[in-house]
């Protein structure tokens, strides 16, 4: 499967981003851990002055030292750019023509792109995560290291990044350029949360029903929800743990602790994403209509589906915007304003999408 020519070509095309992944993870993991350990020392020292029985618990330790959420956000952006550079940007110039004229099958070409990205993501993640663990191991917090906790903090984000990279490549196999691929990847990444906001407003305003219960049952299946950094209740970045509150009384203070129950079966979600999207992407890449490069979608069969989706989403957004104009104390007009916004935005987005379908971003169409 490995082909050094394709690997070299892809490396040349994206080396800046590939090494950025390494740099970001290096600065974000081992280097940051050194600072965090120092902060923890200070914190512990201060707390011990007040409470001689003060103790740092494993969950606190891991959350304050090995939780790299903000770095993961940067990594996700880099991963999306990487995938869009490898597939989308090739379509904007003559590189795609060059690549497809070479003595390689499209499957080989796609898998090489997948392999180079995955190799860099995986190697950078493993190396820097282990490096961070080693730093802790040689510190006074050595006894805080716990295999299961480390495994959880490692394996969930790791699997999710591998899946997210395939997810981003997948959109390259159906779109005709860098901007389109990057935009669709991002939109579908936040889509589950986005569509929830849109549908919830529709459901509340028009149907007078709450969607929360229904949504909460399924949200775990969306990769984007792994990026839910604001919620510490049931999800964390790339984590899905169910925990219970325990009040701990230690004489001076009462504070919360959690009993964690890790759901390993959640790991199947990114694995499933990877397997399904990789297979699908290879099939689609093999069938890519290069003559449609530069267009929004490479497969005209998808035009109607996306037209429907875009119009509905914009209409739902229009509804929310519409209700913002409801005059003070005239809440009974909510429905009417919602509908105005819904229809207006629906029509506008229909024309916008038609325009989008007719656009061609290709620099040279010869």
């Amino acid at each position: 499967m490995f082909n050094k020519t394709l690997w070299y070509k892809d490396y040349k095309q994206t080396k800046f981003i590939l090494w950025s992944i390494w740099a970001v993870l290096f600065l974000g993991m081992p280097v940051q851990v050194i600072t965090r350990l120092q902060n923890l020392r200070e914190y512990e020292k201060n707390e011990l002055l007040i409470n001689p029985n003060f103790k740092i618990y494993t969950d606190y330790f891991y959350n304050s030292v090995l939780n790299f959420n903000s770095i993961y956000v940067v990594l996700v952006i880099l991963i999306f750019i990487l995938a869009s550079l490898l597939i989308g940007s090739e379509r904007g110039n003559k590189t795609n023509d060059f690549t497809f004229s070479l003595p390689f099958s499209r499957k080989q070409i796609f898998l090489s792109k997948w392999m180079i990205g995955t190799t860099f993501i995986v190697s950078a993640f493993i190396f820097n995560f282990i490096f961070a663990q080693v730093i802790i191991y040689f510190s006074e917090y050595q006894n805080m290291l716990d295999f299961e906790w480390s495994f959880i903090y490692f394996v969930y984000p790791f699997m999710a990044f591998v899946a997210l990279y395939v997810f981003a490549l997948f959109f390259g196999t159906i779109t005709g350029g860098f901007i389109y691929q990057a935009a669709l990847t991002f939109i579908f990444f936040i889509f589950p949360s986005g569509i929830y906001i849109l549908l919830e407003s529709f459901s509340q305003t028009i149907l007078n029903k709450e969607l929360y219960v229904f949504y909460n049952k399924f949200d775990v299946w969306f990769l984007g929800n792994y990026l839910d950094i604001s919620s510490y209740t049931s999800k964390n970045l790339f984590f899905n743990t169910v925990h219970q509150y325990n009040m701990i009384e230690d004489g001076f203070y009462s504070f919360q602790s959690y009993d964690y129950q890790f759901n390993y079966y959640f790991l199947f979600i990114p694995i499933l994403y990877t397997l399904i999207l990789l297979t699908l992407s290879v099939l689609l890449y093999e069938r890519n209509k290069v003559e449609n490069n530069g267009k929004f979608l490479l497969f005209s069969q998808l035009n109607k589906f996306f037209m429907f989706g875009i119009v509905i989403c914009f209409a739902l957004l229009g509804g929310i915007i519409g209700t913002a104009f409801v005059p003070f104390r005239l809440n009974e007009l909510n429905n009417l304003f919602y509908l105005f916004g819904f229809i207006g935005f629906g029509i506008l987005s229909y024309y916008f999408t038609r325009k989008l379908y007719n656009m061609n971003l290709k620099i040279s169409s010869r």
Partner: protein, 293 residues
């Protein structure tokens, strides 16, 4: 060596290639001629696998290039500019091509760069348009591929570079068994180097002939009559009026057996003179409308 069988390609509901079949023998130079938008570039891009055909197949030495793309090690496509390699240095390109094409000859490649005074320190993106075109050719021929496909290699280049390129192509082919498929608008250039001409019209191969044969099928004459061109001659399908200045007519005759010439002579022209025929004349005759060429 290369066999194109019933190739068809539809793009956005428009049939750009319609059941195209032809063969290329070793050591031949084939010119592909056609009006703008007739599908020449689409044909070349489909033959090398950039585009996938709706129907038909392209086989190189008996193997389909679509199902066995590794066979493309023996054929190289040269687009009108090496855009994809613009960020590469010469040494990087050599590395890449050595891995890709088993017969790539780096020594030969460097000697050609020197011969054409192509600066080896520069990245390809810094080359002028002419240098890029020349570079693409040098690179393609250094692969020692059996078939080289050139898409408008001299498009937009100055006369000196053009001559250099055409001379080089001829030299290369005369030395080895390389075949070349070349598309061009410049009929005068194709005339200088090709053995065979394929004329494309409305997505089909209108004719596929040896250049010498083609020329023997036609005759170009200049005639002057006392009055206008006699109607009996004007209406003939075999007679194509290329030009008219006053009473001086330039005609192209599909006249294998001299019958038409005899007919014209019977009308007693004041002048009947045979002119040397060019590929452009045939092109006009076959594809009609001088304005479209």
């Amino acid at each position: 060596m290369l066999r194109v069988q019933n190739l068809s390609k539809t793009i956005q509901g428009h049939k750009v290639l319609d059941n195209i079949s032809f063969e290329i023998q070793p050591g031949k130079i084939i010119g592909l001629v056609g009006r703008n938008g007739v599908g020449k570039t689409t044909l070349l891009r489909t033959i090398v696998g950039i585009l996938t055909p709706n129907d038909g197949d392209t086989c190189f030495e008996g193997q389909s290039i679509y199902t066995n793309p590794s066979i493309k090690q023996h054929m190289v496509f040269v687009p009108d500019s090496p855009e994809a390699l613009k960020n590469y240095s010469i040494s990087e390109i050599v590395k890449l091509y050595e891995w890709m094409y088993p017969n790539f000859d780096p020594n030969y490649f460097y000697s050609l760069l020197e011969k054409f005074s192509l600066n080896q320190g520069k990245k390809i993106g810094k080359y002028s348009k002419g240098m890029k075109a020349l570079f693409s050719l040098v690179l393609a021929f250094s692969t020692k591929a059996k078939l080289i496909i050139l898409d408008e290699p001299t498009d937009g280049l100055d006369v000196i570079i053009k001559k250099q390129i055409l001379r080089y192509v001829l030299e290369e082919v005369s030395e080895g068994n390389t075949s070349i498929l070349i598309s061009s608008h410049r009929l005068d250039e194709l005339e200088q180097i090709t053995d065979t001409i394929m004329v494309m019209k409305e997505g089909r191969i209108e004719s596929h002939n040896e250049l010498v044969d083609m020329k023997s099928k036609y005759k170009k004459i200049q005639v002057v009559f006392k009055e206008n061109l006699p109607e009996s001659i004007e209406v003939l399908d075999e007679v194509k009026q290329i030009n008219q200045i006053g009473r001086v007519y330039t005609l192209l005759l599909s006249d294998k057996n001299d019958d038409i010439s005899q007919l014209i002579k019977k009308e007693q022209p004041l002048l009947f003179e045979e002119l040397p025929i060019t590929l452009e004349d045939i092109f006009v005759a076959k594809l009609g409308g001088e304005e479209h060429v």
